[in-house]
Protein backbone atom coordinates (compact mmCIF):
# COMPACT_ATOMS: atom_id res chain seq x y z
CA UNK A 1 0.00 0.00 0.00
CA UNK A 2 2.67 2.44 1.07
CA UNK A 3 4.74 1.28 -1.90
CA UNK A 4 1.98 2.34 -4.30
CA UNK A 5 1.72 5.77 -2.68
CA UNK A 6 5.48 6.20 -2.84
CA UNK A 7 5.69 5.33 -6.52
CA UNK A 8 2.73 7.56 -7.43
CA UNK A 9 4.22 10.55 -5.55
CA UNK A 10 7.43 9.88 -7.39
CA UNK A 11 5.59 9.79 -10.70
CA UNK A 12 3.76 13.04 -9.90
CA UNK A 13 6.96 14.78 -8.82
CA UNK A 14 8.78 13.50 -11.91
CA UNK A 15 6.03 14.73 -14.22
CA UNK A 16 6.11 18.15 -12.57
CA UNK A 17 9.87 18.43 -13.05
CA UNK A 18 9.64 17.25 -16.65
CA UNK A 19 6.95 19.87 -17.37
CA UNK A 20 8.96 22.64 -15.71
CA UNK A 21 12.09 21.68 -17.66
CA UNK A 22 10.06 22.02 -20.84
CA UNK A 23 8.63 25.39 -19.83
CA UNK A 24 12.05 26.66 -18.77
CA UNK A 25 13.42 25.84 -22.23
CA UNK A 26 10.84 28.01 -24.05
CA UNK A 27 12.46 30.74 -26.17
CA UNK A 28 11.31 34.17 -25.06
CA UNK A 29 11.55 37.64 -26.47
CA UNK A 30 11.70 40.93 -24.61
CA UNK A 31 8.44 42.50 -23.50
CA UNK A 32 9.36 45.70 -25.37
CA UNK A 33 9.45 43.79 -28.65
CA UNK A 34 6.32 41.76 -27.91
CA UNK A 35 4.41 44.87 -26.78
CA UNK A 36 5.48 46.80 -29.87
CA UNK A 37 4.15 44.01 -32.07
CA UNK A 38 0.83 43.98 -30.21
CA UNK A 39 0.58 47.76 -30.58
CA UNK A 40 1.41 47.64 -34.29
CA UNK A 41 -1.20 44.95 -34.93
CA UNK A 42 -3.87 47.12 -33.27
CA UNK A 43 -2.90 50.22 -35.20
CA UNK A 44 -2.65 48.45 -38.55
CA UNK A 45 -6.09 46.88 -38.15
CA UNK A 46 -7.87 49.77 -36.45
CA UNK A 47 -9.48 51.07 -39.63
CA UNK A 48 -11.12 47.68 -40.21
CA UNK A 49 -12.56 47.44 -36.69
CA UNK A 50 -16.28 48.33 -36.78
CA UNK A 51 -16.63 48.45 -33.00
CA UNK A 52 -13.70 50.87 -32.80
CA UNK A 53 -14.40 53.12 -35.76
CA UNK A 54 -18.04 52.56 -36.46
CA UNK A 55 -19.40 51.88 -39.93
CA UNK A 56 -21.95 53.86 -41.90
CA UNK A 57 -25.50 52.89 -40.87
CA UNK A 58 -26.08 51.49 -44.33
CA UNK A 59 -23.31 48.95 -43.79
CA UNK A 60 -24.28 47.93 -40.30
CA UNK A 61 -27.01 45.29 -40.37
CA UNK A 62 -27.88 45.97 -36.76
CA UNK A 63 -28.40 49.70 -36.92
CA UNK A 64 -31.82 50.93 -37.90
CA UNK A 65 -31.65 52.35 -41.43
CA UNK A 66 -32.21 56.11 -41.72
CA UNK A 67 -35.73 56.83 -42.89
CA UNK A 68 -36.08 57.03 -46.64
CA UNK A 69 -37.90 60.33 -46.95
CA UNK A 70 -39.48 59.34 -50.25
CA UNK A 71 -42.82 60.64 -49.09
Amino acid sequence: MSNNNASSSLAVAYRAVKQLRLEASVRRIQVSQAATDLKNFCLQNAHKDPLLMGVPSGDNPFRPPKSCGLL
Binding site: A13, A24, Q33, A34, A35, L38, N60, F62
Partner: protein
Protein backbone atom coordinates in the same frame (compact mmCIF):
# COMPACT_ATOMS: atom_id res chain seq x y z
CA UNK B 1 6.22 3.74 -17.42
CA UNK B 2 6.02 7.22 -15.97
CA UNK B 3 9.33 6.90 -14.15
CA UNK B 4 11.48 6.05 -17.15
CA UNK B 5 14.25 8.56 -17.46
CA UNK B 6 14.75 9.02 -13.73
CA UNK B 7 18.41 9.36 -12.96
CA UNK B 8 19.93 7.18 -10.33
CA UNK B 9 19.28 8.56 -6.86
CA UNK B 10 16.34 10.79 -7.74
CA UNK B 11 13.79 10.74 -4.98
CA UNK B 12 10.58 12.59 -4.32
CA UNK B 13 12.37 15.18 -2.22
CA UNK B 14 15.17 15.72 -4.73
CA UNK B 15 12.58 16.12 -7.49
CA UNK B 16 10.58 18.56 -5.39
CA UNK B 17 13.71 20.58 -4.73
CA UNK B 18 14.43 20.62 -8.45
CA UNK B 19 10.80 21.71 -9.05
CA UNK B 20 11.28 24.69 -6.78
CA UNK B 21 14.57 25.57 -8.45
CA UNK B 22 13.06 25.37 -11.90
CA UNK B 23 10.12 27.55 -10.88
CA UNK B 24 12.48 30.16 -9.48
CA UNK B 25 14.62 29.98 -12.62
CA UNK B 26 11.52 30.37 -14.80
CA UNK B 27 10.53 33.50 -12.88
CA UNK B 28 14.06 34.87 -13.17
CA UNK B 29 14.25 34.27 -16.92
CA UNK B 30 10.86 35.87 -17.48
CA UNK B 31 11.81 38.89 -15.34
CA UNK B 32 15.04 39.51 -17.25
CA UNK B 33 13.01 40.22 -20.35
CA UNK B 34 10.49 42.41 -18.55
CA UNK B 35 12.03 45.67 -19.67
CA UNK B 36 8.87 47.71 -20.14
CA UNK B 37 5.10 47.71 -19.60
CA UNK B 38 2.63 47.48 -22.49
CA UNK B 39 0.98 50.78 -21.60
CA UNK B 40 4.37 52.51 -21.70
CA UNK B 41 4.96 51.25 -25.23
CA UNK B 42 1.50 52.60 -26.05
CA UNK B 43 2.03 56.02 -24.48
CA UNK B 44 2.14 57.87 -27.78
CA UNK B 45 -0.85 56.05 -29.23
CA UNK B 46 -3.84 58.34 -29.59
CA UNK B 47 -6.32 57.87 -26.76
CA UNK B 48 -9.75 56.56 -27.62
CA UNK B 49 -12.65 58.96 -27.39
CA UNK B 50 -15.84 58.32 -25.50
CA UNK B 51 -17.59 55.14 -26.45
CA UNK B 52 -21.33 55.02 -26.75
CA UNK B 53 -22.59 51.56 -27.45
CA UNK B 54 -26.21 50.73 -27.57
CA UNK B 55 -28.29 47.61 -27.49
CA UNK B 56 -29.66 47.22 -30.99
CA UNK B 57 -31.43 43.91 -30.59
CA UNK B 58 -32.79 41.99 -27.65
CA UNK B 59 -33.19 38.26 -28.06
CA UNK B 60 -35.95 37.18 -25.72
CA UNK B 61 -36.90 33.62 -25.25
CA UNK B 62 -34.93 31.73 -22.72
CA UNK B 63 -36.81 30.99 -19.54
CA UNK B 64 -33.77 30.88 -17.35
CA UNK B 65 -30.14 32.03 -17.08
CA UNK B 66 -28.24 32.24 -20.36
CA UNK B 67 -24.94 30.46 -19.77
CA UNK B 68 -23.23 30.43 -23.13
CA UNK B 69 -23.53 31.65 -26.68
CA UNK B 70 -21.64 31.44 -29.96
CA UNK B 71 -21.87 33.17 -33.33
CA UNK B 72 -22.21 31.37 -36.62
CA UNK B 73 -19.60 32.26 -39.26
CA UNK B 74 -22.43 33.77 -41.32
CA UNK B 75 -22.29 36.68 -38.82
CA UNK B 76 -26.00 36.67 -38.24
CA UNK B 77 -26.94 33.46 -36.50
CA UNK B 78 -26.33 32.80 -32.84
CA UNK B 79 -26.70 29.72 -30.68
CA UNK B 80 -27.37 30.19 -26.97
CA UNK B 81 -27.84 27.76 -24.11
CA UNK B 82 -29.36 28.10 -20.70
CA UNK B 83 -29.82 26.74 -17.21
CA UNK B 84 -33.20 25.24 -18.00
CA UNK B 85 -31.76 22.92 -20.65
CA UNK B 86 -32.85 24.89 -23.68
CA UNK B 87 -30.58 25.56 -26.64
CA UNK B 88 -31.85 28.12 -29.13
CA UNK B 89 -30.60 29.16 -32.55
CA UNK B 90 -31.48 32.78 -33.42
CA UNK B 91 -31.30 35.02 -36.44
CA UNK B 92 -29.76 38.07 -34.76
CA UNK B 93 -30.85 40.46 -37.56
CA UNK B 94 -34.54 39.65 -37.17
CA UNK B 95 -34.46 38.25 -33.59
CA UNK B 96 -36.43 35.24 -34.83
CA UNK B 97 -35.82 31.87 -33.26
CA UNK B 98 -34.89 29.38 -35.94
CA UNK B 99 -34.42 26.21 -33.91
CA UNK B 100 -34.89 25.11 -30.33
CA UNK B 101 -33.71 21.97 -28.61
CA UNK B 102 -34.46 20.78 -25.10
CA UNK B 103 -31.51 18.94 -23.63
CA UNK B 104 -32.06 16.09 -21.21
CA UNK B 105 -30.02 17.95 -18.60
CA UNK B 106 -30.14 21.35 -16.97
CA UNK B 107 -27.23 23.83 -16.90
CA UNK B 108 -26.17 23.63 -20.53
CA UNK B 109 -22.94 25.47 -19.89
CA UNK B 110 -21.41 25.12 -23.29
CA UNK B 111 -22.58 25.58 -26.83
CA UNK B 112 -20.83 26.15 -30.14
CA UNK B 113 -21.70 26.65 -33.79
CA UNK B 114 -20.03 24.43 -36.38
CA UNK B 115 -17.88 26.23 -38.98
CA UNK B 116 -20.23 25.14 -41.77
CA UNK B 117 -23.24 26.59 -39.93
CA UNK B 118 -24.94 23.22 -40.34
CA UNK B 119 -24.67 21.92 -36.80
CA UNK B 120 -24.35 22.97 -33.18
CA UNK B 121 -22.66 21.32 -30.22
CA UNK B 122 -23.75 21.63 -26.61
CA UNK B 123 -23.50 20.03 -23.19
CA UNK B 124 -23.29 20.67 -19.47
CA UNK B 125 -24.32 18.70 -16.44
CA UNK B 126 -24.79 15.61 -18.57
CA UNK B 127 -20.95 15.42 -18.74
CA UNK B 128 -21.23 15.07 -22.50
CA UNK B 129 -20.96 17.17 -25.60
CA UNK B 130 -23.54 16.34 -28.24
CA UNK B 131 -23.77 17.50 -31.83
CA UNK B 132 -27.12 18.35 -33.44
CA UNK B 133 -27.23 18.73 -37.22
CA UNK B 134 -29.45 21.71 -38.05
CA UNK B 135 -32.27 20.95 -40.37
CA UNK B 136 -33.72 23.36 -42.93
CA UNK B 137 -37.10 21.95 -41.98
CA UNK B 138 -38.18 23.96 -38.94
CA UNK B 139 -40.67 21.31 -37.93
CA UNK B 140 -38.13 18.55 -37.73
CA UNK B 141 -37.29 17.32 -34.26
CA UNK B 142 -33.57 18.08 -33.90
CA UNK B 143 -33.20 15.66 -30.99
CA UNK B 144 -33.85 12.75 -33.32
CA UNK B 145 -30.52 13.26 -35.07
CA UNK B 146 -28.52 14.05 -31.92
CA UNK B 147 -25.09 12.49 -31.75
CA UNK B 148 -23.21 12.09 -28.45
CA UNK B 149 -19.56 12.84 -29.13
CA UNK B 150 -17.65 13.69 -25.98
CA UNK B 151 -17.79 11.92 -22.63
CA UNK B 152 -16.19 13.41 -19.57
CA UNK B 153 -16.37 12.34 -15.95
CA UNK B 154 -17.68 15.71 -14.81
CA UNK B 155 -19.61 18.66 -16.27
CA UNK B 156 -18.81 20.05 -19.68
CA UNK B 157 -17.68 23.68 -19.27
CA UNK B 158 -16.78 24.69 -22.81
CA UNK B 159 -16.71 23.32 -26.33
CA UNK B 160 -15.46 24.44 -29.71
CA UNK B 161 -15.29 22.93 -33.18
CA UNK B 162 -11.81 23.06 -34.65
CA UNK B 163 -11.45 24.41 -38.17
CA UNK B 164 -13.93 21.87 -39.51
CA UNK B 165 -17.16 20.23 -38.44
CA UNK B 166 -15.22 17.00 -37.94
CA UNK B 167 -13.43 17.67 -34.68
CA UNK B 168 -14.59 18.99 -31.36
CA UNK B 169 -12.50 20.33 -28.50
CA UNK B 170 -13.99 20.17 -24.99
CA UNK B 171 -13.09 21.24 -21.47
CA UNK B 172 -14.54 19.81 -18.30
CA UNK B 173 -14.99 20.00 -14.56
CA UNK B 174 -12.97 16.77 -14.51
CA UNK B 175 -9.83 18.89 -15.00
CA UNK B 176 -9.09 17.81 -18.56
CA UNK B 177 -9.56 19.03 -22.10
CA UNK B 178 -10.09 16.61 -24.96
CA UNK B 179 -10.17 16.46 -28.74
CA UNK B 180 -12.82 14.24 -30.35
CA UNK B 181 -13.67 12.93 -33.78
CA UNK B 182 -17.31 13.94 -34.33
CA UNK B 183 -18.25 11.14 -36.71
CA UNK B 184 -16.97 8.23 -34.61
CA UNK B 185 -17.01 9.82 -31.13
CA UNK B 186 -13.43 8.65 -30.74
CA UNK B 187 -11.11 10.43 -28.32
CA UNK B 188 -8.19 11.71 -30.42
CA UNK B 189 -6.15 13.44 -27.74
CA UNK B 190 -6.53 14.32 -24.10
CA UNK B 191 -4.88 17.21 -22.30
CA UNK B 192 -3.85 16.75 -18.69
CA UNK B 193 -2.20 19.39 -16.56
CA UNK B 194 -4.84 21.41 -14.77
CA UNK B 195 -5.26 20.48 -11.14
CA UNK B 196 -8.90 21.56 -10.91
CA UNK B 197 -11.97 22.20 -13.12
CA UNK B 198 -11.18 23.65 -16.53
CA UNK B 199 -13.71 26.41 -17.21
CA UNK B 200 -12.87 27.73 -20.63
CA UNK B 201 -10.92 27.07 -23.80
CA UNK B 202 -10.18 28.94 -27.01
CA UNK B 203 -8.52 27.85 -30.23
CA UNK B 204 -5.69 29.92 -31.63
CA UNK B 205 -6.63 31.88 -34.80
CA UNK B 206 -5.96 29.52 -37.69
CA UNK B 207 -2.87 31.25 -39.09
CA UNK B 208 -0.90 30.41 -35.97
CA UNK B 209 -1.27 26.67 -36.01
CA UNK B 210 -2.60 23.93 -33.85
CA UNK B 211 -2.69 25.30 -30.35
CA UNK B 212 -5.34 26.30 -27.88
CA UNK B 213 -5.46 27.93 -24.46
CA UNK B 214 -7.46 26.79 -21.43
CA UNK B 215 -8.16 28.38 -18.05
CA UNK B 216 -9.54 26.94 -14.83
CA UNK B 217 -10.14 26.84 -11.12
CA UNK B 218 -6.46 26.16 -10.44
CA UNK B 219 -5.89 29.85 -11.47
CA UNK B 220 -3.76 28.67 -14.36
CA UNK B 221 -3.96 29.39 -18.06
CA UNK B 222 -2.31 26.64 -20.11
CA UNK B 223 -1.36 26.64 -23.77
CA UNK B 224 -1.50 23.25 -25.48
CA UNK B 225 -0.21 21.60 -28.64
CA UNK B 226 -3.27 19.91 -30.10
CA UNK B 227 -1.35 17.18 -31.88
CA UNK B 228 0.93 16.02 -29.09
CA UNK B 229 -1.25 16.81 -26.09
CA UNK B 230 1.72 18.65 -24.60
CA UNK B 231 1.25 21.62 -22.30
CA UNK B 232 3.70 24.05 -23.90
CA UNK B 233 3.29 27.15 -21.74
CA UNK B 234 1.61 27.85 -18.42
CA UNK B 235 0.71 31.11 -16.69
CA UNK B 236 -0.26 31.46 -13.06
CA UNK B 237 -0.72 35.06 -11.96
CA UNK B 238 -4.45 35.27 -11.27
CA UNK B 239 -5.58 35.12 -7.67
CA UNK B 240 -8.72 33.13 -8.31
CA UNK B 241 -10.55 30.97 -10.87
CA UNK B 242 -10.06 31.89 -14.52
CA UNK B 243 -13.55 31.91 -16.02
CA UNK B 244 -12.75 32.74 -19.60
CA UNK B 245 -9.78 32.73 -21.99
CA UNK B 246 -9.72 34.38 -25.42
CA UNK B 247 -6.95 34.82 -27.99
CA UNK B 248 -5.85 38.24 -29.19
CA UNK B 249 -6.64 38.40 -32.94
CA UNK B 250 -2.97 38.07 -34.00
CA UNK B 251 -2.63 34.85 -32.02
CA UNK B 252 0.43 36.19 -30.15
CA UNK B 253 -1.39 36.81 -26.89
CA UNK B 254 -4.54 35.92 -25.00
CA UNK B 255 -6.78 37.57 -22.41
CA UNK B 256 -8.38 36.07 -19.33
CA UNK B 257 -11.30 37.02 -17.09
CA UNK B 258 -11.23 35.88 -13.48
CA UNK B 259 -13.11 35.75 -10.19
CA UNK B 260 -10.33 37.96 -8.80
CA UNK B 261 -12.14 40.87 -10.59
CA UNK B 262 -9.31 41.40 -13.08
CA UNK B 263 -8.76 40.62 -16.72
CA UNK B 264 -5.18 40.06 -17.83
CA UNK B 265 -3.25 39.89 -21.06
CA UNK B 266 -0.51 37.28 -21.52
CA UNK B 267 1.94 37.49 -24.40
CA UNK B 268 3.00 34.08 -25.71
CA UNK B 269 6.34 35.17 -27.18
CA UNK B 270 7.40 37.10 -24.07
CA UNK B 271 6.00 34.20 -22.04
CA UNK B 272 4.47 36.44 -19.36
CA UNK B 273 1.59 38.59 -18.25
CA UNK B 274 1.90 41.99 -19.93
CA UNK B 275 -1.19 43.87 -18.73
CA UNK B 276 -3.83 43.83 -15.99
CA UNK B 277 -7.23 45.42 -16.54
CA UNK B 278 -8.62 46.32 -13.15
CA UNK B 279 -9.98 49.12 -11.02
CA UNK B 280 -10.43 49.41 -7.29
CA UNK B 281 -14.14 49.96 -7.88
CA UNK B 282 -14.48 46.66 -9.73
CA UNK B 283 -14.81 43.97 -7.12
CA UNK B 284 -16.93 41.35 -8.83
CA UNK B 285 -15.57 38.54 -10.97
CA UNK B 286 -15.22 38.81 -14.74
CA UNK B 287 -17.04 35.91 -16.33
CA UNK B 288 -16.39 36.40 -20.02
CA UNK B 289 -14.06 38.37 -22.31
CA UNK B 290 -13.66 38.95 -26.03
CA UNK B 291 -11.61 41.23 -28.30
CA UNK B 292 -12.78 43.58 -31.01
CA UNK B 293 -11.43 42.80 -34.50
CA UNK B 294 -8.23 44.85 -34.19
CA UNK B 295 -7.58 43.74 -30.62
CA UNK B 296 -7.71 47.32 -29.37
CA UNK B 297 -10.86 46.80 -27.30
CA UNK B 298 -11.53 44.10 -24.72
CA UNK B 299 -15.16 43.56 -23.80
CA UNK B 300 -15.59 41.95 -20.40
CA UNK B 301 -18.81 40.85 -18.68
CA UNK B 302 -18.92 40.90 -14.91
CA UNK B 303 -20.94 39.45 -12.05
CA UNK B 304 -21.99 42.98 -11.06
CA UNK B 305 -24.24 43.00 -14.17
CA UNK B 306 -22.02 45.36 -16.18
CA UNK B 307 -19.86 45.07 -19.25
CA UNK B 308 -16.60 47.02 -19.10
CA UNK B 309 -14.83 47.97 -22.29
CA UNK B 310 -11.03 48.24 -21.91
CA UNK B 311 -8.39 49.90 -24.06
CA UNK B 312 -6.10 46.87 -24.40
CA UNK B 313 -2.96 48.94 -25.12
CA UNK B 314 -3.32 51.67 -22.52
CA UNK B 315 -4.94 49.55 -19.82
CA UNK B 316 -7.74 52.04 -19.20
CA UNK B 317 -11.47 51.54 -19.21
CA UNK B 318 -13.23 53.35 -22.05
CA UNK B 319 -16.86 52.51 -21.29
CA UNK B 320 -19.21 50.77 -18.87
CA UNK B 321 -22.32 49.28 -20.42
CA UNK B 322 -25.44 48.76 -18.40
CA UNK B 323 -28.06 46.64 -20.00
CA UNK B 324 -28.56 43.60 -17.93
CA UNK B 325 -30.35 43.00 -14.68
CA UNK B 326 -28.19 40.18 -13.48
CA UNK B 327 -24.73 38.66 -13.96
CA UNK B 328 -23.35 38.85 -17.47
CA UNK B 329 -22.34 35.28 -18.24
CA UNK B 330 -21.12 35.50 -21.80
CA UNK B 331 -19.77 38.14 -24.20
CA UNK B 332 -18.91 37.37 -27.83
CA UNK B 333 -17.93 39.63 -30.70
CA UNK B 334 -19.44 38.73 -34.07
CA UNK B 335 -17.14 37.20 -36.72
CA UNK B 336 -17.04 40.41 -38.78
CA UNK B 337 -16.64 42.56 -35.68
CA UNK B 338 -19.70 44.73 -36.30
CA UNK B 339 -21.43 43.81 -33.05
CA UNK B 340 -21.07 41.85 -29.87
CA UNK B 341 -23.65 39.76 -28.07
CA UNK B 342 -24.03 39.51 -24.31
CA UNK B 343 -26.00 36.91 -22.39
CA UNK B 344 -26.99 37.13 -18.79
CA UNK B 345 -28.66 35.61 -15.77
CA UNK B 346 -31.34 38.31 -16.27
CA UNK B 347 -34.58 36.99 -15.07
CA UNK B 348 -37.06 39.72 -15.81
CA UNK B 349 -40.55 38.90 -14.75
CA UNK B 350 -43.33 40.08 -16.97
CA UNK B 351 -47.01 39.66 -16.26
CA UNK B 352 -49.53 39.37 -19.05
CA UNK B 353 -53.15 38.26 -19.11
CA UNK B 354 -52.99 36.64 -15.69
CA UNK B 355 -49.85 34.62 -16.47
CA UNK B 356 -46.31 35.30 -15.28
CA UNK B 357 -43.46 34.94 -17.73
CA UNK B 358 -39.78 35.05 -17.04
CA UNK B 359 -37.77 36.46 -19.88
CA UNK B 360 -34.07 36.17 -20.16
CA UNK B 361 -32.21 38.29 -22.67
CA UNK B 362 -29.29 38.20 -24.98
CA UNK B 363 -28.41 41.71 -26.16
CA UNK B 364 -26.71 42.69 -29.38
CA UNK B 365 -24.59 45.84 -29.08
CA UNK B 366 -22.95 48.08 -31.66
CA UNK B 367 -21.51 51.58 -31.77
Amino acid sequence: MACQGLSKGETVSSLRAESENLKAKLEEERSKLHDVELHQVAEKVEALGQFVMKTRRTLKGHGNKVLCMDWCRDKRRIVSSSQDGKVIVWDAYTTNKEHAVTMPCTWVMACAYAPSGCAIACGGLDNKCSVYPLSLDKNENLSAKKKSVAMHTNYLSSCSFTNSDMQLLTSSGDGTCALWDVESGQLLQSFHGHSADVLSLNLAPSETGNTFVSGGCDKKANVWDMRSGQNIQSFETHESDINCVRYYPSGDAFATGSDDATCRLYDLRADREVAIYSKESIIFGASSVDFSLSGRLLFAGYNDYTINVWDVLKGTRVAILFGHENRVSTVRVSPDGTAFCSGSWDNTLRRWAGYSFRFVYCCIWTL
